[in-house]
């Protein structure tokens, strides 16, 4: 069956608070998606709808054309890893893995063992006694080894130290290459995860701001560096993301692609054009005081 995932005009309301507003998008199979948004933008709400933890107030969430809510057959094919509360969990690490092996049809126990070694997870320790980073590593282990056609990591790195996050990212890419499937990673650690995403989805205050291929997204920004006055003249009227100055040199990051003419002009003026990071673009697009939403 197809595991194409679709949100169609989804709204989600908690009391008076509208967490998601008219969200529609499609996720193709076998791609890695980055779901980006500031704190409280609605990332976790959106993912919990996809994992059928909740039912949308209005609209539909479908996988392969079937609605996900209360669809037990589909739910064995969707894995959601998030920052689980394990404070009461007296089971041991190995018990959790055995349980996952039971209810996840594609669970690969030998791959799980490999991850346990990579993350140095203590198999015989009670889960509630693990450090936060280790709890996250356990969630990631179960999430990856489940090999679900739709695999979701909702800020699953919380508490992991930098070397552990490296292991997570490396294992994710390698296992995705071996067993392609839809993977969705929500994060605000954009700068260290940007290379993982084939496409990104940005939500802002409950609305879908954009969905774009990573490489095309990065082309939305350009940095202009050179003598301060020349740079200032060149970028006048352009949408400025940030400015850095050192002595008589200024580097301005702008939002928007430059025309062929502007490229030529920049070369003639001796300006250096460069790349802008996904993080810079993300920060700009999700700035709270910015009321005029930039739509592409």
């Amino acid at each position: 069956m197809s595991y194409e995932t679709a949100f169609h005009q989804v709204n989600m309301t908690y009391g008076n608070f509208q967490a998601l507003k008219d969200i529609s998008f499609r996720l193709e199979e076998e791609k890695i998606y980055g779901l980006l948004g500031r704190n409280g933008a609605g990332k976790s709400t959106l993912l919990s709808l996809l994992a059928a933890y909740r039912k949308p107030s209005t609209g539909t969430v479908t996988i392969g054309g079937q609605e996900v809510f209360e669809n037990s057959q589909l739910m064995s094919q969707v894995a959601l890893s998030y920052n689980t509360d394990y404070s009461e969990e007296s089971d041991k690490v190995k018990d959790m893995l055995d349980a996952a092996a039971c209810y996840r049809p594609n669970f690969d126990s030998s791959y799980a063992e490999h991850l346990v070694k990579q993350f140095k997870l203590p198999r015989d320790k009670q889960v509630k006694k693990l450090s936060n980073g280790m709890k996250s590593a356990l969630n990631v282990t179960i999430g990856l080894a489940s090999r679900c056609p739709v695999t979701i990591f909702d800020e699953a790195y919380v508490g992991m130290d930098a070397p552990t996050r490296e292991i997570f990212y490396r294992e994710l890419l390698e296992d995705h290459a071996r067993h392609p499937r839809t993977i969705i990673l929500s994060t605000h650690l954009v700068s260290e995860m940007d290379y993982l995403f084939e496409e990104i989805i940005i939500i802002k205050r409950g609305r879908l701001l954009m969905q774009e291929r990573s490489d095309q997204f990065l082309e939305l920004g350009v940095s202009v560096t050179g003598a301060t006055q020349v740079v200032e003249d060149f970028v006048r009227g352009m949408k400025r993301l940030s400015t850095r100055q050192l002595g008589g040199t200024t580097s301005v990051r702008i939002y928007g692609e430059l025309s062929e003419m502007q490229h030529k002009e920049a070369r003639k003026l001796g300006l250096e054009l460069g790349n802008v990071s996904m993080q810079d673009l993300f920060i700009h697009l999700t700035e709270e005081e910015d009321t005029d939403d930039v739509q592409k």
């Binding site: 890419l173 290459a177 290379y195 084939e198 490489d215 054009l273 460069g274």
Partner: protein
């Protein structure tokens, strides 16, 4: 680990150049398998779309070739091809900027030749 990328140049071109360098320096020999896209992504921390773009330039140029389901390999004659390409751009890439700089500094042509001999004699030019 890996050298940082130059932010004033498209990354996919830099990926292409790094693989070319490895072929020219014999780190990758003809018929050797080159690292997979996933390995390159993990190593350079660069998106696979960007890596793929760099690689497809090398495939189009006949420097590397793909074997379906197996991987990517350095083509026969790849090093020779790259060396010839580099000779073609040597004048524009090295001689012209050197002469421009020498002009600014007032270094004559005979001085340049003398300096080149001096550098060669000192062994500083060896890789």
């Amino acid at each position: 680990m890996s050298m940082p990328f130059d932010e004033h140049k498209p990354i996919f071109l830099q990926i292409k150049e790094r693989i070319e360098d490895q072929i020219v320096n014999d780190q990758l020999r003809e018929q050797d398998q080159i690292p997979s896209t996933t390995q390159l992504v993990n190593f350079y921390k660069i998106n696979h779309l960007t890596i793929s773009k760099g690689i497809s330039l090398l495939v189009d140029a006949g420097i590397i070739y793909k074997k379906r389901g197996v991987g990517m390999f350095v083509a026969e004659g790849a090093k020779q091809k790259l060396l010839e390409q580099r000779k073609d751009v040597f004048v524009d890439g090295y001689i012209v900027p050197m002469m421009q700089e020498a002009g600014k500094l007032g270094i004559s042509e005979s001085d340049i030749i003398a300096l080149m001999k001096q550098v060669k004699g000192s062994g500083r030019n060896e890789l």
